[in-house]
Amino acid sequence: MSHEDGILLWRGCTYRNQLPEELKSIERVLRRVDVAFSTLEEGCCGYPLFLSGYQREARDLAVENIDEIGSFRLIVTACPACLRAFKEVYEEHFGLSLPPVLHLTQFLDEKVKEGVLTRDRLRPVKLKVMYHDPCELGRAMGVYEEPRRLLGLVPGLRLFEQRFTREASACCGGGGLLPAFFPSLASMAAARKLTQEDRVPEDLDAVVTTCPQCILNLRKGLEMWVEEEGLEDLQVLDLAQILDMALGG
């Protein structure tokens, strides 16, 4: 089977297993901008193996995956960990060659530049949101502007700028496999980030981000640690969910 002209949407374990609604939004947004894409019976990208120190095993998995994904023209993923696995671990550490890989926000930003995704296609989303830079997407992969440009396109959206953004942004605590090693501490870090580092205002409707690990950990942080901060109604949304709303749900 040849995929030479095709686009692969690599969904990633976290979206597939834990964030089905967010995944639906991702797929819907791609369809709405008329992108034909395939999906696979995916396994793990190997990033958790790499992060935990099992480099040999990560390499084995990478070699297996290459067979499956190597023939596509382009790989798009909404998971920064998978993105980094492909671009940094597969290519730089293991010397494997891959088709181009883009984060969903990079891909959609191109659609904006191509004139496919335009402001007049978007309905107002009347929310006050804050964009959280995932460490894996921002500091690690240098993707800061694309998510902001996409949010800037949505009519009605008001953006709250927190104290620390981009290179200086505060980690949510969900990285490095800390949620596996010490889940309560990881979620506590999320709460501290929102209340003490970002100082989110009470009228903020949603924290928007572009990483499934951040979504899970930030939600857990709000659920477990911020009863008294007046943030009971604060939502954590995937950027794709905002676009999905704007494109008509």
Partner: protein, 420 residues
Amino acid sequence: MGENFERLVGDYLQALWDAAMDDHIRLALSRAVESFRRNRAAAFKLYPWVEEKAERLREVKDYSLLHVDELAREVKDRVEDLHGNCIIAETVEEAMEYIGDQVKPGDVVVKAKSITSEELHLNPRLEELGCKVYETDLGEFIIQNLGSRPMHILSPAIHVSRERVAELFSKVMGREFPPDIPTLAGAAREFLREKFLEAKVGISGANAIAAETGTTFLIGNEGNTRLVTGLPEKHIVIAGLEKIVPTLQDGMLVVEVVSRYANYKAPAYVSLISGPSKTGDIEKQIVYGAHGPREYHVVLLDNHRREMIKDPVYRQALRCLRCGACLYECTIYPLVAGYYGYLYMGGIGAVFTKYLIGGMENAAPIAYTCTLCGRCKEYCPMKIDVPEMILKLRSELAERGLVPERVRGNVEEITGRKLE
């Protein structure tokens, strides 16, 4: 090994959890983080070229690490030429034996802050030799009396709120103190004044050592460093080999950069010490021990530092100036203070734990606590890439079967692979 290792990890996690649940720690840390940021911003505003200087210093430090053997010999030659003593101690034991020879039972020893001295377990060992040891840095004094361990490399008592300090001082000094910071600082001053005068030996660390003159640079704010290095008969400097830089100018560069990144516009004191006190005022005959120490000893500590230098990834950790900026911007440290560490803290602490004190088993839980977010690197004057080092360390831990069960199990579950 597996069971003991898991117990060690369990104890570490328990300590982390207790710290995370401690309201005093949270309060003290959140005050400290914000105050640090305000002060640092003010220092950077006044001296905007500090980042450029940090970049220059980075090159100096890298050069110095790669030439550490010849620079250490140069230090030794220069110090001895100026009637001081210098030893390049390969091991902790060697260093301790040398220091032990400089003290007598019954000696009062005053110390200025030195985290390197903790690698030697200096205080308990001096006490075994019959010495009475006093930490004179206010933070260290608090820690010593609490029977706790330093919780920040620069501000060791950072996790202790003023309320707890007042309680502690009331106990130690036998009278009541209000939780008022100036009053508490005054009480420590009064208590320690006589110890300085009684002391036979003063022990300090070093912020830098300039090879060309064998000069020790010591930065201080409280003034205790001047008394420790000036009043007793003997002054012993304990410094890791990575503190050596080639020239006096390089030493000043260290002073400038580390101070600003450590949130000071200018430290109150910078001491440059190149030998014992001396006078030639009578017939130009030089005699040693005028008003200051008669003896000056420099202990240059290797303790696996040369091994670290040989590794291009871990080498960068030895650029560390100990400004502590990384800890304030860390995701985890502000929640639990130095419990996220062994002696050295934070992600970089895992690397020091592997090499300098504690070993691989103690380094493991620290390495798996780091979220690999990389924010510390952004704020580090030496641009030390902590995530890069932690990933390398984790791969070595996996090789040795030192991945905590919780992590291994989770990765097995995600990937469907059985891991050893």
